[in-house]
């Protein structure tokens, strides 16, 4: 078997449709047993990449290796890879049982073996009682489970999932995230799933690749992607961000970002992390939960914070477990802060004068311009 190499290795894959470059020089590794997400906005090339793994599209150049063997040119029906389709693509003229058994019959297994495996997998997704039903008589969530059962019953080396939860309503979607994760642990198959929903990717994936315009911008664990984005795109796409732009000024360990109105201090470590140098156009990214908000009238100190600014609270929103504040700074920029509900400032009203600020190490530095963004992509791809 593969031993220590990655399960799936995508190497410099390019795919064009006419003049459009759908996938532009993508390289990725997916490990054995991993739950891996391809995350990005629609049209970013994530689905094309998935379809190339399934064999429905052929790369113009590059390699796709499964346990070290090149899959390019291997027909879809000969790949040890199965896919769960966004539309589920259940065969409407067959019962649930026969939908699940379809792939096993193609393998010419004997009848008892097929029956045993179909029952086992239907039991696993909790649908054994509906085996005789036709797909049209099932609810959305049940169809999704049948599609999943049909895709895992052949015990593929990799399971591909194209927007697996997109067709479900919100409540079910959240439930199914955990369910999918449980199943993945149970069967131990590597899952590669495509989604445009960052929350879905963060909650389910062990690692995710963030894609935009045919390229992979960053690969990492959900925590890495959220806490240490390497590009402005990733910072904006995953979670909410406050962004301050300017040019980087490095004087020893004293690093600042000089903006139009004022300069902001950043940690030297933050500047080293993405390899930015003096004079580069950069952006500081502050997550709303790291932006602290202090009423000016409270007389509370702001010394713990490295960067502070004053402004006026213009909007508050109560979201149950937390509360959002929109503050317009004196220079006109708007920022968002977030606190846990039950915080002492719950009673702050709109129109209050406030100070906002953050601790030095909370400021994440990323390149601000587009070229740097793409260079950053090359950099993170190599990580």
């Amino acid at each position: 078997m593969s031993g220590n190499g990655p399960l799936v290795a995508i190497r410099n894959v390019v795919k064009r449709f006419g003049s459009i470059v759908a996938v532009n020089n993508v390289s990725l590794d997916v490990q054995q047993g991993e739950f891996f997400a391809l995350l990005g906005p629609s049209g970013c090339g994530k689905t094309t990449l998935l379809r190339m793994l399934a064999g429905f599209e052929t790369p113009d150049s590059g390699e796709i290796l499964l346990e070290g063997e090149d899959l390019v040119g291997v027909k879809p029906w000969k790949r040890p890879v199965n896919m769960m389709f966004q539309s589920y693509a259940l065969f409407p003229h067959m019962t649930v049982y026969n939908n699940v058994a379809y792939g096993l019959r193609e393998d010419r297994l004997d009848k008892q073996e097929i029956d045993r495996r179909v029952r086992e997998v239907l039991e696993m997704v909790g649908l054994l009682g509906l085996a005789r039903r036709k797909p049209d008589t099932l609810s959305g969530g049940q169809k999704q489970r049948v599609a999943l059962a049909r895709a895992i019953v052949k015990q593929p080396k990799v399971l591909l999932l194209d927007e697996p939860l997109a067709a479900l309503d919100r409540k079910l979607r959240v439930e199914m995230r955990l369910e999918l994760k449980r199943l993945q642990h149970e069967v131990g198959i590597a899952f590669i799933f495509v989604t445009h929903d960052q929350e879905e990717a963060l909650t389910m994936a062990d690692r995710a690749a963030v894609m935009n315009a045919g390229q992979v911008l960053q690969v990492g664990t959900p925590q890495e992607l959220y806490e240490l984005p390497t590009s402005l795109f990733v910072a904006n796409f995953i979670g909410e961000s406050n962004v301050f732009t300017g040019s980087l000024k490095v004087a020893g360990d004293d690093v600042t970002v000089v903006g139009a109105e004022r300069a902001w201090r950043v940690s030297a470590e933050a500047s080293r992390r993405v390899g930015l140098k003096d004079g580069d156009a950069v952006a500081i990214v502050i997550r709303p939960e790291h932006l602290q908000i202090i009423p000016a009238a409270s007389g509370q100190e702001t010394n713990g914070l490295s960067n502070t600014a004053t402004g006026m609270l213009i909007e508050t929103a109560y979201l149950g477990s937390m509360r959002h504040y929109i503050v317009e700074l004196d220079d006109g920029t708007r920022v968002m802060a977030q606190t846990q509900a039950g915080h002492i400032f719950d009673s702050l009203t709109e129109g209050t004068r406030v100070s906002v600020g953050w601790e030095l190490e909370r400021g994440v530095l990323v390149p601000a311009d587009d070229e740097a963004l793409i260079e950053g992509a090359g950099l993170s791809g190599a990580l």
């Binding site: 399934a54 064999g55 429905f56 027909k75 879809p76 029906w77 000969k78 890879v81 199965n82 896919m83 389709f85 966004q86 539309s87 693509a89 259940l90 065969f91 409407p92 003229h93 067959m94 019962t95 026969n98 379809y102 792939g103 019959r105 193609e106 393998d107 049909r150 895709a151 052949k154």
Partner: protein
């Protein structure tokens, strides 16, 4: 009540049309079929089953069988040619589909009669095809392509092929392409995918197309008249002959109902078979 009035107004014109031009003539023809022929044509209103008994005479039976054979062969060929055509159009790039469908419907721009005459020009002993084959030295004697069953089938096939392609196209086009991909993904090579997924799920189109070709082929009298040469080759000619030449309306009416009952029986059989196929298709393997 208001809804009922509205529906009556909407359905009224179509309903009136059907009653005046279909139901009443059918009832008239049906009643004629149980009466006697008058000595100088016309109908003598005197009940008899003679007209139906005559359907089982060797001559009429033979014509019925020939007609059935021709209609079945025509339908089968139309299906064999029409399915790949419809499949190619339905899976072509969307910007091409309208053009290709337009080409399928193009023959409708000229009269059916003229197009049938054109086949005489193509098929006769001095016609284009014989001329061409002799020039190439493939044959030395002209082939007898015209005035036989072959010519009839060619003519019917040509005339009704679009009626096969169009319903097939719409049922293939409606099929979610991910279903074919799912079958391939689960290990089925293309032919297997076709027989286990594509064909069962487009059976409605196959049946609709087959009916649209079979029914008019069975009753056609223009093509056998022009391309078949023989007077009584198909049942349509026989019926036409009964009504117009022999002036035996009751006998023609009985034959017409004979054709109708064959068509009805076949439709019922087909509906039953489809039901079974769709129910049981899943368990087949």
């Amino acid at each position: 009540m208001k809804k009922f009035t509205q529906q009556l107004v909407l359905l009224g014109p179509g309903l009136a049309w059907l009653v005046v031009f279909l139901v009443i003539p059918l009832v008239l023809i049906l009643s004629y079929s149980f009466f006697r022929r008058g000595p100088y044509g016309g109908v003598v209103y005197e009940f008899t089953l003679k007209n139906y008994k005559q359907l089982f005479s060797p001559l009429v039976l033979r014509v019925f069988l020939t007609s059935l054979r021709i209609a079945v062969i025509t339908t089968g060929l139309a299906l064999l040619i029409g399915y790949p055509t419809a499949y190619a159009i339905a899976t072509a790039a969307p910007q091409w589909r309208t053009t290709l469908l337009g080409l399928v419907a193009l023959p409708f721009w000229t009269s059916y009669l003229i197009r049938t005459y054109a086949w005489i020009v193509l098929l006769n002993r001095e016609g284009v095809i014989n001329h061409f084959l002799m020039r190439l030295g493939i044959i030395h004697e002209p082939l007898g392509l015209l005035y036989n069953e072959f010519a009839i089938i060619i003519g019917l096939l040509y005339g009704y092929l679009p009626f096969m392609i169009l319903p097939l196209y719409s049922s293939i086009e409606r099929l979610n392409p991910e279903l074919r991909e799912a079958a391939a993904d689960l290990g089925a090579p293309p032919l297997k995918t076709f027989f286990t997924v594509t064909l069962p799920l487009t059976l409605q189109g196959v049946i609709a197309g087959s009916i649209f070709v079979f029914v008019p082929s069975l009753g056609n009298f223009v093509v056998p008249e022009l391309l078949g040469g023989g007077r009584r080759l198909m049942i349509g000619n026989l019926i036409q002959n009964r009504f117009l030449k022999a002036r035996d309306w009751p006998s023609g009416a009985a034959m017409a109902f004979g054709v109708m009952s064959i068509v009805l029986i076949l439709l019922l059989l087909q509906a039953w078979a489809t039901n079974r196929l769709q129910e049981g298709g899943a368990n087949a393997e």
